[in-house]
Structures are given as C-alpha cells and as structure tokens.
Symmetry: C2
Subunit: 252 residues, 2 copies
Amino acid sequence: MTKGGGFVALIGAGPGDAGLLTLRGRELLAAAQCVVYDRLVGDGVLAMMPPEAVKINVGKVGGGHFVPQQEINGILVREAQKGRFVVRLKGGDPFVFGRGGEEIEALNESGIAFEVVPGVTSALGGLACAGIPATHRGVARSIHVVTAHTKEGGLAHLDYEALAKLGGTLVFLMGAAAVPEICSELLRAGMPESSPAAALENASVAAQRLIRGTLAELAGRCAAEKLKAPALVVVGGAVGFAEAFAWKKFLP
Amino acid sequence: MTKGGGFVALIGAGPGDAGLLTLRGRELLAAAQCVVYDRLVGDGVLAMMPPEAVKINVGKVGGGHFVPQQEINGILVREAQKGRFVVRLKGGDPFVFGRGGEEIEALNESGIAFEVVPGVTSALGGLACAGIPATHRGVARSIHVVTAHTKEGGLAHLDYEALAKLGGTLVFLMGAAAVPEICSELLRAGMPESSPAAALENASVAAQRLIRGTLAELAGRCAAEKLKAPALVVVGGAVGFAEAFAWKKFLP
C-alpha cells in the first residue's frame, strides 16, 4: 500500500458507532503509520488506531481551537512525504461536508497518491439509528442534505422555498445552533406548522438523543432540553416513523 | 441476538465492493441462519453468507421476475417465526430507496424484533469510488437524492424547477433507463447545457464505468456507450472533479 513517496487514505469513520466503520476502513486503519483524526470520529473507532502509529488530533475541542483546513492539508502532505502510510480519519464520509476534496487537491499538488474509503454518513445512517427512514414509499420520496455550518456557506445560501417544495426528507448537518433559524425559515417558506421535525444528538452511539416535535414546536423543545452539538436536524414525513421503527430497544 | 420469536437484521451491504460492508453488518451476517438478499448486493458480500444458512434470493434477474415487496415481507415474517436469526441483506442502505420501512411495518405487525444496520449508499459512496465528491466547498453545497425508478413514484413526482434552483449535487438512483428524461427535464427547468453530468455504472466494483459529458451531451453518450443498469446519474459542479480526484489508478 505505502509507496515511496507516501500514501494517504481518506477514510470515513461513520456516524460514531465503531460497528459502522467499513471493513476496508478498518483494514487500512490497522496498517496506518500516522493517523490524522477529527473530533467527530467515534471513540470506538479511535480505539482501533495502531498503538505504534503517530496520532495527530486536528479537531481539538478542549483547548477551544480547531486546526485550520489549510494546516490540515499541510500536515497530510508533510507526513506522506516522510514516506508514511497516512490515514486521514473523518467522522461520517470524507465527501459529505467533510472537505475531503480540499485535502485531495493538496495531495495532487504534491504528487501524493491517495485512496478514498467512503463511510456511512450521519445524514442517512445516523437517522436510521434513531428509527427514521431517509425515504419511505409514498411519504418521503427524496433526500436533501445541507449543512447548517455557516463557515461552509451553509444556511446563508439556502433556497428554503425550493427545499420546502420538494416534499422529501430535509437533513441539516451541524444543526445544533441553527434549530430556530431552520424552523422559522422553513415555516416562512410555506411548510406546514405540523410538519414532523426532530433534532438528533450523538447519532448512533450510546449517548444518542432524539428530540421530536412539529416544525412549530421543535426550536422550543430543543432549547428546553438543551440540545448539544454534534446534532443534525431532520424535517419531513419520515420523522413520523421514529417511534414505530425504533430498534435499539430490542438490543441486549 | 436471536430471540424466541426470531429476529431480523436489515443490513445495508453498500454499493457493491465487499470492503464497504460495515463491521456490524459482517458480524451479523456471519451469525445468520437465513439470508434474504437482493440482486444489488455485491458478489463479495454474498460470499460472506454462512454456508449453512438458508439463502433466499428475492431479486432474481435471470428468470426475469422480481419477488413483489409484499411477498418479501411475508418471507421475513415466516422465517423469523421459525425462530431463526434472519438477515435481510440489501444493496446500498435499507432506508435509501430500499423499502426497509415497509419490511419493518410487516415485522411490527407480527411482533418480531429487528435491528437496522445502515450501509454506505451508492448515491454518496458510489460517487466517491469514481472520484466525485458529493459536496465541495464553493462548488457543491448540498446533496439531493431521488430515484428514477418510476414504480417508486420517482420521476413523475419530481419538481425539476426546484431541483435545478438548488445548485447542489443531484443524484438519480436507478437512472440507467431514464438518462434522456432526466437531462431534458433539467434543461427545460433552466439548468445550463454546460452543466457537468455523468452516469455511473456498477459503482465501486471492478466493472465500474463512468460516462461523462455536459447535461446536453450525456444522453447521447450513454446511448453510444450502451449504459447498463444498475447505474446512477449525477449532475452538478462536483462531477467536474472526477478526473482530478480519481483514485483507483493508485491501487495495485
């Protein structure tokens, strides 16, 4: 796998639960000489990092600072140029608001070979862990995923009128702080107050928490129940199945 | 795992490549007493079915017939009621146009416990295998997934004007037969003729094939190159990265 000039594997770690890492993801992670990881990677996945690998946390929360994307790009290039097999481990999927493309552009500029291992995105797989089907025959015929992270040019660019007209499942990643804005804009765009809506905190892991309500109620409920990041917001008829389709209750 | 009255695990097998099955998916598949599988499940994943398990193919292509959804629901209930641990193995993700919700409704009616194991959907992970990022900063800020399968109420219900206005990555699953309709409707809805577009056949596996063109060219190219199902159609600026981000060339 490792070439003379190093090699970088961009791996999607999935929504959090270690069981949702892919087989290819685990195989490559086990071979890593250097792991550059995010704050959204689940603890169970982090525990699979080889003990002898160099580990670089680029998503520090404790110290209150995040490593800028350009610096992350530089770390990947530098570590690969040492001839290492570098794993870039990201929460969810590298290409679903994961900025994997920017890292690949940096690798291309330096002539470094790479592989992409897609992961289960929390936007779909995370919902499934809370019993919410992204689609359901006759109820949710399309899926629309956006980010509420304003630095990514998220909410400011959204055409809420178009989204409201589609009648599908609307998923807003990184939505914890934006629940009031999302709900009020969708209501203004013409979605019914009674539309099923929910916020999902810590999708897939033991701390998972689903806060449900109508589109008119959700912001108040999230405030009352102190919703915390990371969370996604989901709106649409599919949310109405959450109780009937909940399956974690069946597990030991 | 198996309870007195049986248990059903709905597992997403991913886009085809066996390496894109999840760890939890493989763990449960290895324990299956009965596997009910689809035609879109990859051969490498099928090879992981336990030799002693009862295997029921509900997606026969050779004989030219498909098992109706209601019959599949009945098979799951019947096999679980024998006290078996049943795995329902689906291509992609059970909830992304996978009709997993209908199967769960049947299980609920019969009081059968279940688990859902999300998979990597071809709509996102399949694209990644062809070097197409579902999102890219400044170019593709949202993702919209629909099905072109008319029996699922796909194309007939689509609001192309709304889709065309969103400026994100548009993914049409099951799109092989619908390329001309998709392209002409998006053009009619106002998308520029020069919009990057592609059809992706057999995402993620050795037979993967990407046919690219502008929105105006794609239908002609797919006809000339005899695009075959299963294929997805993807439209938007992200398609323009396919060449620069292609990574399979780096693999041995």
